[in-house]
Symmetry: D2
Subunit: 397 residues, 4 copies
């Protein structure tokens, strides 16, 4: 009898004090306090059995910066003073758990709130314990982990340790240097049966070793690199150019942004990870290589979290005549990202309750470099990605 | 035995001396002379049984301006001097047939190459004879008619004469003033069993009287108002904004162009017809009314046929935060339109050979205001329109 | 002997509750409270004997809306909540004096806080008394009047009553309908020996009758129509295009804004006044008529006081080759206007104390349609206007 | 008696086969053939005694590529086929003289048309002989040299050999490696009493050694780096922002271009030379350092010689409120540059005939990094530069 309430789902963020995580948490707290504005939440109007309600999400997570979330959010300058005041009750109550840091993998970001552990195995054990404690103390039906930490440099993907579940286990035993912090979180989650998504360009659950593990243990994983602004537009426009057979002679993309993400990208190694995930989208959709596809990201402080993208597209049409399309997107990075993160968490949880483990391709619409189940290349066409998602959900688009 | 050649299909343009028609003809003649560049032709890579080859298209048509097409094309300034020289042989050989003119329906465009006829019935008979002669003299398997004439003002759609096939026939008998030139062409085509498409915003085969006639005689018809630049972009972007639940607070669209089309739109009545077809697209895709959706078109001579669109989109995202997207499309009106016209002709011809008459909804992707078979509203989402087309063709997208 | 303090100067705004006036007042109050940020104030770094200090400005004025300025400012949405709180003490203390209204001259703006007067003479007398009372009660050394009210429609400038001081006096006696509210304020100020500037496109002190009066009474007057955003840019760019002999084939200017000013411009008569002052700038600087100079202003609510201008300039350079310049100005109308208004007030007061009456041409840099002393046309070149101002001030540019 | 004809002035270009030089030559030849279109020539309307007429200019010059100018121009794609045909007579007749090349100073550009000389002294002698022969064979009243060659990397400016005329002479004797090709041309010109201007970012007559020599021999010199597109705009806009006290928080400038100039800039050393001359303009005009002033140049082939600049300017205005200005300049590099080069040649020749030697500061308006006579910094404000030029000319602006 009584009113049936939904599942309580815990969302544990790697990088909980960051702009995206604090925005996501503040937003959901606002909804819990009665706001009806669901703008920006892609699945706001979708009703599917088993999908957790926004109000039933509970948040936890790790961060190298141990400040409470209200302070962290104030520093990011994403939320208005008013929003932070309204959500203050909730945000002040939360401080991140100690996190794994590695100057080797991410130079420009550091902090004191570190896990004290003598080796990889002990680190993994701390993370797994955090998840268990979170589940118990918050009385959760289930938990998911989402990586929102600053972009790490790319490891050497050819290292054997990353290429089979067995070698990876041995690598953990020897605290192998090729295993990054992002992978330690992913491993701990998967091993605990907790769905894991990577919203950053870092390498994590997408190494063969961890994909194998997720498949074997039937744990949902997804990634990677959230598709928010410029690349989203690219995957929306390119299919239309292809449909009209307007040949893309060049696509020049430049970005200016001044937030912590931008600062991390000032480390050329981290930038390279980012560009890698941005690069192939266009050629994949168009079916031919665009030789003059340039993508630039610049750290430009006046904007803070307000990101601006300027794209110039040169196309050739009928009779060889040339035309230009220019797109100027004045967006807000975390405002676009936070609701996607929330939907990814809800869908991962639904996948787990449906018993659907391994790579969740239906989440492709949310990622710049979608992980796929096997050899075939990822789908980048935004419209087709949307169809995949709604087909999987069993909902009307 | 010999090589099996395809169907020879005649394309008769209403407004044959205009920029779009001359560009389409020059383009196909270039392909006939051996060019392999098929940029801008949406179905260039599609292989479907029964679809006429580009090389098997033959052109004819009407125009109030009786100049040969080489002179006309030179005047429009769309094609390069080189293109016109190369296509000159073909273009010089063609002069438009006398056309129906009406200062009442289109004020700013006029010419001396007029059909001499005492009433509507005689006019219709001249048009039908033109089609017959074209078929015979050019040894065609079939013919289609495409309306590319300057935009007419809208008639009073409530007039009974436009609302049933029977009343329309009587209206023809009495040379009823509500029947526009565009309708006379459409009627003559349908009555001759010739597929008809309306690429302009004028009212033609979309009055109930003519839709009824097309259905009864099982003749393919389609329309209306070619979707080339700004509106195409709108139907590409709006579904993505909806997918991300970015609420559209306002959409400001302005256009500058300096060609004959722009001059015709200087007549406020013609402009109104244009704006009517542009207006509903956005609300239909988004599912809610955008109160500040402004669309402006300005006649601005420095550009000639080079049209420029500037769009500003104001959206609200997560936590009520505002963002802006600006799209600046430096396009070429006729260069975008001509290949669509060619594909419409090919698909209409295929529909006829398949015995599929009446409204051809699968052509929606090419129109701002797609005609639909019955009560349901048109599909405006560009991606869904593409799927409709390829499903109908039975081809891989 | 004590610290020598500057002159206390009263600034009386026509339209005191509007966005520009409340922003100007809040800004000066912030400076009085100790802020050192003088951004946007053109003469902030200029030191000239006799020029009133920002801290020595005192505000009063009329408005049809009798709300206190804190409420008014909140409604305009220009200032942040924080700014209004900080300035609240000052703003709450001020309510506008009853104002002259006329549905005949300005349709879309109305209010209840009206001067009760049976005719023009009585109205003028009320205004003059307001100025006297202001001077006495606030212990002012001097007063200036600045018109910031909503744009009125243009009167018939050929009316004899507007063309000589003598006829104007008679017109006041008979409450002549050609005399607008803006002229009543201007007359009352000039007659009271109070400098007057018109920051709006309305016709006021620039009718021959009032220019004659100002000259006779040696009262400084200036105008008109504040040069803030798009037109300012135009007068900056056009001289450079001329210097490089880049021929302007067309200049397309469009504006979107959603504040009270925009609403008033929805009355086509008021819009015409605005366009009149914008029109001639370009031809005057370039020395030849730009045939395709189009200027559009659109009321677009999503932006509120945030105005956006998009300009496209088509130029022809060497060898007849064409180029384009596009300028997109995301500005804030009142934020740009308020500091200009403050500087105009300070310079007018300085002119009076220098005994320099009549039209103040050196203020041209602040106006779209600068008033000039005699027959010669106004200077629109921004750089030359700046030089005029600094030469008059006797200051280093 | 007879018609008095003007001075015949020879213009010798370093880099004569390049896009700028061929455009300049074709343009002047068009004028000689009777064209009245003087668009883009800044001094077209200026009448000053002693200033050579456009029709009296005669061209010669050096290039590593020995092709005749008609072939070279066709390759650059700047001029229309029609222009080249019209100017073909003149262009075909001209082949560049052998030039000085140095892979050490300019990596990406090379050619076979090289001066054969065993050392610096012999090279200088060849250049001087070229100038003498040019003067005699073309029956010239005088000659000027303009450097239009590809940008060289910067030498070590601290090298003593570059810092006094005496040391430089010794450096020539020893074929010192610090002396670049550009300096050899400059030295040869100055020593021959021939005025010299540097339109490129390379270091040439601006080393102390050569400035000293020019002063001693009273030979006019000017430079450097032609101010055509983005930087020109910057020096036009920045003074206006300063005049309105709009504080520049950041200025992001990006450029895409695909011509030979762009290719040379793909060598990071050459790019650095370019950025050096672009950097200081802004701070100098504004009077404070703009910390986020980013300038990027990207080689992007689809555009060829059509250069596009996108600037975003973040400013703070009254009450600390933020605004943005975006400028998108679709320009043509050589079309903007060629007429400036012509005017520089004419003014240099005038300076010589007036006996005004040494650095010609009045040419500042044409340069990104104007050379100045002594310690004081250069004037970058476009309006003030224009005034300097017209004051020197003794002409009405």
């Amino acid at each position: 009898m009584g009113i049936q309430t939904g599942r309580r789902v815990g969302v544990a963020f790697v990088g909980m004090g960051g702009a995206v995580a604090t925005t996501a948490i503040a937003g959901i707290e606002t909804i819990k306090s009665g706001s009806n504005r669901l703008d920006g939440l892609p699945l706001a109007g979708v009703s599917v059995a088993g999908l957790a309600d926004y109000k039933d999400l509970v948040f936890g997570g790790w961060d190298l910066n141990g400040d409470d979330l209200a302070s962290a959010a104030t520093g990011h300058g994403v939320l208005t003073r008013e929003d932070i005041e309204n959500g203050a009750q909730a945000l002040k109550g939360i401080t991140p758990w100690p996190a794994v840091g590695s100057a080797k993998f991410c130079k420009n970001i550091d902090g004191a709130n570190r896990i004290v552990a003598k080796d990889h195995r002990e680190t993994v054990s701390v993370i797994a314990n955090d998840l268990n404690r979170f589940r118990k103390e918050s009385n959760l039906d289930d938990v998911v982990v989402i990586n929102l930490a600053s972009t790490e440099r790319w490891p050497d993907l050819a290292e054997p340790v990353l290429n089979s579940a067995e070698a990876f286990e041995k690598g953990l035993d020897s605290s192998d240097e090729s295993i990054s912090p992002a992978m330690l979180y992913a491993y701990a989650a998967i091993k605990s049966g907790v769905p894991y998504a990577n919203f950053t360009p870092s390498i994590a659950a997408d190494v063969p070793a961890l994909m194998e593990l997720a498949r074997e243990l039937n744990v949902p994983v997804a990634g990677k690199d959230g598709k928010t602004g410029q690349t989203m537009m690219k995957t929306v426009l390119a299919p239309a150019l292809k449909a009209r057979q307007l040949h893309v002679d060049g696509w020049f993309s430049t970005n200016i942004l001044g937030n912590r993400d931008g600062l991390a990208l000032n480390d050329p190694n981290s930038l390279q990870s980012k560009l890698n995930t941005k690069g192939t989208v266009l050629d994949s959709i168009l079916g031919y290589p665009v030789e003059d596809h340039l993508v630039h990201i610049h750290y430009y402080r006046p904007r803070g979290d307000d990101k601006e993208a300027w794209d110039n597209i040169d196309v050739t049409g009928f009779m060889g005549q040339r035309m230009q399309i220019k797109v100027n997107f004045l967006c807000k990075d975390s405002i676009l990202a936070a609701p996607l993160v929330i939907e990814i968490a809800r869908v991962l949880d639904l996948a787990k309750s449906r018993g659907d483990g391994g790579v969740q391709e239906q989440l492709s619409t949310f990622f710049k470099a979608p992980m796929v189940k096997n050899g075939h290349g990822p789908e980048h066409d935004f419209g087709k990605q949307q169809r995949m998602l709604f087909d999987w959900l069993g909902a009307q688009q």
